[in-house]
Symmetry: C2
Subunit: 258 residues, 2 copies
């Protein structure tokens, strides 16, 4: 796998855990904060792993401290950057002078309250379940995210496209393509989209900088869903679409079918 | 302007400064870190302001401290999150245990070294020019970004499309559309792209969550450049493309022509 250094260690660790485990779950998109950059950075270099499902969960962020610590004691708030981003309004209003500290995950922030020398001056933004997972913590506020409608959608990754997972939807209706226009005379975006949308519909387009020495080159991630009602042949449809795009001189890989 | 709470105050402040100033410059995209989320969040609600130009600058991040502070003294690194992201490799190698503190800008981080009680235990990631701007600072390392090829592209905003700016390219060749598919029976992406690409070419597609109560609705930002060699009528071409898209029942606004 190509070594790059600018991604969150957590998402890439989860993806790399597929060498030992049967499946891994990574956050794809949040309704407030948008696409999860670290996940798309990891998908840029994904070679071993295949998306086989999706899960959408409602997110309720809580402000958690060590027992006995009150709002006026807090001069630092720790969490994953997505959670810090989703609670900006609450933090601006209630803790405008507290610094923000990015952690690898919301659970890591909760745990750090108990380990850190600054634990008596800090709070974590995390899930309610952390208060029962880690003894010595208390919840000060529940549901502190700016938007009360807050969902995160996750991709479920398996080792490869043959891995059997429980509770897979049948039949499959989604796919994710990774597409790179490699030369300046590559076809226009509308031609690529038209080649895809013969029997599917583009639902998400994300782009990340390509890991290369040429500035402003992009990798596109195009998620599609089936637009016909036929029950079968989805895998074949996805393969045909890939072939059509590759025949135009565009790099295309299928990163998932679910 | 619709009030939303989850954007960086700095980018939105810059955009709002157009009520007093003739032009404003906001970062659009970096070659390592990708699109600047705060800028696209501000563009979601842009009503007063119009993109009239672009600038691309090479970025050289430096590690700066107060005079006399060495690498082993540093337990906190402050900067804008984009700069922290662009220097992750350096920080992991040289300051693995230092916390990261997000600031509103790289210059604000440099200034905070002189004001903060933790200034003797902190470093800032900022431009070299900060060492001459703020007396009492020194540069420990220069060019610490992970990728040595590091450019940021900026949009130049004016009050409106009639504002005269110096050094505008003539003739104009670029435009940015904000597009929202408002119903589930909206046309497919390929149809929208085809309507655009009659005499232009899509160069960038970005999406952000729409500010609404319906989860997973998107706003798309589609940047185009002229694909014909004709010298004139670019504004008219952009207006015609907007009309074609609106006639399909898709919301479309032109956010800039340059």
């Amino acid at each position: 796998m190509t070594k790059i250094t600018h991604y969150s260690p957590v998402v890439i660790d989860v993806v790399e855990s597929l060498s030992d485990l049967d499946c891994a779950v990574v956050p794809q998109e949040n309704t407030i904060f948008g696409s999860v950059v670290e996940t798309y950075n990891a998908l840029r270099i994904l070679q071993h792993g295949f998306i086989r499902g999706e899960i959408t969960l409602e997110i309720q962020h809580c402000l958690v401290t060590r027992k006995g610590v009150g709002l006026s004691d807090i001069d630092c708030v720790m969490s994953h950057e997505q959670a810090l981003g989703q609670c900006r309004g609450f933090l601006s209003k209630h803790l405008p002078n507290a610094s923000r500290k990015k952690m690898d995950s919301t659970a890591a922030a909760a745990e750090a309250l108990l380990r850190s020398p600054d634990g008596l001056k800090s709070a974590a933004i995390c899930s309610k379940v952390c208060v029962t997972m880690f003894e010595g913590l208390q919840m000060l506020y529940e549901g502190i995210q700016d938007e009360k409608i807050n969902f995160t959608r996750f991709y479920v990754l398996a080792k490869n496209h043959c891995t059997k997972l429980p509770q897979l939807p049948a039949p499959c209706t989604h796919a994710l393509f990774r597409i790179t226009r490699i030369s300046t005379d590559s076809p226009k975006m509308s031609i690529i989209f038209e080649a895809l949308e013969i029997d599917m519909e583009v639902t998400r387009v994300d782009r990340r900088p390509k890991v290369s020495n040429i500035p402003f080159q992009d990798v596109h991630f195009i998620e599609v869903k089936r637009s016909t009602n036929e029950d079968s042949h989805w895998t074949q449809s996805v393969d045909c679409a890939t072939g059509r795009i590759q025949s135009m001189g565009v790099e295309a890989q299928v990163l998932g079918i679910w």
